[in-house]
């Protein structure tokens, strides 16, 4: 950071550093392309319920292993069954269900508040009735926001859905929509896991680096020792221990499911490298003159860490983030390969890819089952990696003079 020079006003430095980097990023065409890809993937995943896709869990068994096609078929559309007749899913159908749910809700008033068993049962039925039309159409259980987006989609596109451009899987489910819904899980898992590692790693690393001396020695020794724990092991053991039925039920009451456990555990493991990187950065930063100056002005230690050190480590941290997300995604794929990933009806990219592996054989390869999920994973990780590199180049002052 020699070029920025010693100045007491840190925010300004940060700003110029960032705007400078931003400018450089924009000049790098590949980086811009990567950013566009990432933005598309992220918004695609976020807005999935809004898109006119087929439901991810709708099994049309008569169309199993159907190859990719542009032809639209009636069973592509959103449909529900009413009195043994197939009718389109419409806002009316949903409104009927909601009205019914409200009726059930009125029963709740009559129930003695102490009667937990009955209350729970009625609450269950309300949820059942409300989810019913979506489930029947082939969606998985959705939160209120996703349901709202689905209704918006019905307003905009009606029940029309994109044909099976990427083919169908063994149960006749649409691969395209599975890739989209899988993106939601994969991306959330990797981002949250990475954020968990970020919070632990940055605080641990900066504290260790800032205090130095014995504290640093002890804290880094702990990291060293933890480094040697084979963490695949830890993850498997923890997933089995916490997946035990009683434990699982207790956790479920707090809203903790397997995915939550997964990203907390993974995050709690990936923080080690982060802590080391941050510590190294802090060690060199605290010798900088502006930190000395702040200290001379009587700023508290925590204040210095929070206001001066942390913002300056951010560049390293962000680069590291863009490189950790891909690793977590691959790890999720690996766990899916072992059968320890998400559980059906949820779907993730890792699960799709490992399902795809089963159909790579010399006799008959249903290539679309492996190619499309692989493209999704590959493209996203490719973009993340390149973007991470570009970001590092942009943030690294030393490279300015490089050819």
């Amino acid at each position: 950071m020699q070029n920025t020079g010693p100045q007491p006003e840190t925010p300004r430095i940060g700003k110029s550093l960032w705007s400078d980097a931003w400018g450089k990023l924009l000049r790098n065409r590949l980086a811009v392309a990567c950013m566009v890809v990432l933005a598309l993937v992220a918004s695609g995943a976020f807005l999935t319920p809004l898109l006119p896709l087929q439901p991810s869990d709708k099994a049309v068994t008569s169309r199993d292993f159907e190859p990719p096609t542009f032809r639209h078929q009636p069973s592509d559309n959103l449909q529900v069954r009413r009195n043994d007749e197939v009718v389109p899913l419409t806002l009316v159908v949903i409104a009927e269900a909601d009205a019914k749910a409200e009726k059930v809700e009125q029963q709740l008033a009559d129930i003695d508040s102490g009667d937990h068993e009955r209350r729970k049962r009625v609450l269950n039925s309300i949820e059942d009735v409300r989810q019913r039309p979506y489930l029947e159409a082939g969606f998985t259980n959705m939160g209120p926001f996703s349901r709202w987006m689905t209704r918006m989609r019905l307003r905009i596109f009606g029940n029309w859905s994109i044909p099976s451009l990427c083919g169908r899987d063994s149960l006749g489910r649409d691969v395209l929509s599975r890739v989209f819904w899988g993106a939601r899980v994969s991306i959330i898992v990797s981002i949250v896991a990475t954020l968990v590692s970020l919070v632990i790693g940055v605080s641990y690393g900066s504290i260790s680096g800032y205090f130095g001396g014995t504290v640093d020695g002890v804290m880094m020794r702990i990291v060293d020792v933890l480094y040697s724990v084979p963490f695949i092991f830890v993850v498997i053991f923890l997933l089995t221990i916490l997946g035990e039925e009683q434990t699982k039920k207790q956790l479920a009451e707090y809203g903790i499911d397997r995915i939550t456990i997964f990203y907390v555990v993974v995050g709690a493991i990936y923080w080690l490298t982060m802590a080391r990187v941050v510590r190294g950065q802090v060690l060199s930063l605290k010798k900088e003159l502006y930190v000395e100056a702040a200290r001379a002005q009587g700023a508290g230690q925590m204040e210095i860490i929070a206001r001066h050190i942390v913002p300056n480590v951010m560049s390293v941290v962000i680069v590291y983030l863009t490189l950790t997300i891909p690793r977590v995604m691959l790890f999720e794929a690996f766990l899916s390969f072992l059968g320890l990933g998400v559980e059906s009806p949820d779907v993730s990219w890792g699960m799709l890819a490992s399902e795809g592996l089963d159909v790579i054989n010399p006799v008959r390869t249903y290539w679309w089952l492996v190619v499309f999920p692989s493209i999704a994973i590959g493209l996203t990780l490719f973009a993340l990696n390149f973007f991470g590199d570009a970001l590092r180049d942009a943030l690294d002052p030393k490279l300015r003079e490089g050819r």
Partner: protein
Amino acid sequence: MIAYFAKRFVWLLITVWVVFTVTWILANNSPGNPFTSEKSFPPEIEANLRRRYNLDKPPLVRYTLDLGNLVRGDMGVSTKQVDFTVNELISLCWPVSAALGLAALAWAAVVGLVAGVVSASRRGTLADLSLMSLATVGIALPNFVIAGFAILLFSFLIPLLPPAGWGSPRYLLLPAFCLGAPYAAYIARIARTGMLDVLSQDYIRTARAKGLSRLAVIMKHALPTAVIPVVSFLGPAVAGIITGSLVIEKVFAIPGIGYSFVQSAIDNDTPMAMGIVVLYTILLFTMNTLVDAAYTWLDPRVSWEDVS
């Protein structure tokens, strides 16, 4: 130097102890017992088995017993393959994984370094872009997808190599290629970054100004420094790669230890799991120590005092 290694040895013991304890606690609290099978046992026989595996004793006593056995180097008998002791299983399976890992690493290091250096010295050209894109694909795809396609390609479309098994050099090539691919990609990227860092340093420009050829500068002055980050990546990677890869060993049916590494945890085969964990820890620690030691050789500014 001797003081350094002695100190590291003490730390090794502490690390092994910590890792052993953590894994022991996890393994002994995971649901399911090691002798479950499809045919259930009557309670009397179950009680007998519990006695045989010391499961009737309080946890602390069991822990002490197991730790004692570890110190004596006796890891017990695998509960899933009862014809072998854990030590035998490791000594039979680990060399296979190690051989595969070394072969994978050898090609990964050579190809990765060359690609990284070429890419860095031609920064911004088409060659750089395509090499780096290729490398990124290596990192961006799950291992098992690469393996699946490699088998289709090299065993069936072009029938060159056997699709699975172990026993002769031919069996080694395909799995080593698939196992090494992501490592080659990582090495290429790290080497490129390291090289770029070095190439912008003053002394390189001085050397160039003195009239030394490009190649000579790269080989003689830049490479040793640029290799440092690669070495620090290789340390843990070596430990990981030669303890085997579950995915590759499963897809290629290779009798290595990588499979047991995960399977013993899943199968609740505690003795085997503990044995492998200890092996892995020792290897990883040794590799990290060697990496630190390598700095003193690669970077003249680093002394023995610095690394310890």
